[in-house]
């Protein structure tokens, strides 16, 4: 039994009378508790795929099954962290994190009480009452991710959460994310275009082809957990990286779109 199944899902937009294929028929089967990365050049439909799983847009064809139940066009069944951190600038960090709970009808007081220990434990202690613009990029990403986590769905979609961070912060955040994943046993789908990041974090990596996106390969990452920074230098890691580089290199180099 798979946690999440994407069955022949595709998406076509019509723009200026022309059909734009954002994503070709894609099928994925993801067991519970996995960390799965999706890698591919920009514009290949990764965000589109997430928007469909999150129920924000409807696929042109195909189905999305969560625990066997069709969730096409239904939002709120999975946690989704969009490409930007999207913290509400008029709310403090604490009040941003509890947004999902509030929408569920949990009282503000109760929600704050539940969120507080989480903030402390996962590196936001002392920032509870700050406003988002006062925080660094990494801290804002933490807040956005904790908000998604606190919404408490089994499946969490993360769309390039660390894309805008510098290399050092990025490495820290990866370790942080793995800790959260181990603590909470969520099923995580993670978009990135950084090969190292994909290998370091994932159990499985789905590789999408250049636009219009099509599923090209699924790679299983045989690296023992917990992963450490030494993992990045192991032979296994290097050979996986070679495989992925080859897969992505077969693409036409650059046609200047995003």
């Amino acid at each position: 039994m798979y946690k999440l199944k994407v069955v022949d899902a595709s998406k076509i937009f019509r723009r200026d009378g022309q059909e734009v294929v954002a994503l070709q028929e894609t099928t994925m089967q993801i067991p519970a508790g996995r960390f799965v990365s999706i890698i591919g050049p920009s514009g290949c439909g990764k965000s589109t795929l997430f928007n469909m799983i999150a129920g924000l847009i409807k696929p042109t064809t195909g189905k999305i099954l969560l625990d066997g139940q069709n969730i096409v066009g239904k939002s709120g069944y999975v946690g989704y962290m969009l490409q930007k951190d999207l913290l509400l600038p008029w709310r403090t960090i604490l009040d941003n994190v509890i947004l999902g709970l509030e929408i569920r009808g949990v009282s503000k007081r109760e929600a704050r009480k539940r969120a507080q220990p989480l903030l402390e434990r996962y590196g936001l202690k002392g920032f509870e009452n700050n406003y988002p613009p006062e925080l660094s990029g990494g801290m804002r990403q933490r807040a956005a991710l904790l908000r998604t986590l606190l919404y408490d769905q089994d499946v969490i979609l993360l769309d390039e959460p660390f894309g805008a961070l510098d290399a050092q912060t990025r490495l820290q955040m990866q370790g942080w994310l793995l800790r959260i994943w181990e603590d909470f046993q969520k099923t995580i789908l993670f978009i990135t275009h950084d090969i190292d990041e994909a290998i370091y974090l994932s159990d499985d990596i789905y590789v999408l082809s250049h636009r219009p996106g099509k599923l090209k390969a699924k790679i299983h990452v045989e690296l023992e957990r917990p992963r450490r920074e030494e993992t990045l230098l192991s032979d296994n890691f290097i050979s996986l990286k070679q495989t992925l580089l080859d897969l992505l290199r077969e693409e036409p180099k650059d046609n200047g779109t995003t």
Binding site: S75, G76, G79, L86, L88, W90
Partner: protein, 271 residues
Amino acid sequence: MAQPEKKRYIEDEKKRQQRMKRIVFGGQIGLGILVIVLWEVLTRFEVMDPYYWSSPSTIYETAKVAFLEGTLWDDLVYTSLATLAGFAAGTLFGSLIGLSFWWSAYYSRISEPYLIAFNAIPKLALGPVIVILFGIGFFSKVMLAFLMTVIVTALAAHSGIKAIDKDLEKLLYSLGAKRRHVFTKVVVPTTMPWIVSSLRINIALALAGTIVGEFISSRQGIGRMILYAGQILDIDLVWVGVVVLSLLSMLMYAGTVSLEKLLLRGQEPKQ
């Protein structure tokens, strides 16, 4: 081993700003006093004709009499209340109209040109109609103050609606939100700085509306007092009215600024 004290120069932006603030504030007060003193001196030596220009001391004496023996206090209360009621109703109703445009893009686009057209009407010219419709009492003044402010606010709120970040809406839906959640948690807070930015203009407009209403026909109010004083050629009393209105206007402006702070809590007003 004591090091010899070195002269150190430390940039202190805050200190510099505080210094500037003090000087500016002092200058502002000084300028005000200078104008009043000049006014007094020039009229006393009849460089300016005291019949037309009155003088600060005469205005003060006349005001004292008008407060203690006349109806100036009641007039002031009347005008203030009419202005505040019109301002509050106009701002509230205008915000609601503006916010309501979020509910439907069709409704919003269909009504927008009418809103702009209505805004272009010189509302004060409608004064006589309002007085005929609503009588010469308190309510017609409130109505004029209301008309002066409602469309300005609606247009401001409408600009706010147009500036809403679509991705924030998307985020809320991804957290299982219904439209009403998006409304209270994103639409209202995003629009608030726009609404607030219209407050300062609105309070002055509301006051103008009330005064014009009192000019047209009224039994009370500072506007009526000024009109009456003009008719009996009591120019000192006209000046009292003008000064009292200016003070009232400043006070209301200050009140609006505190209201802004309260409503925004950390956000900046837009435009």
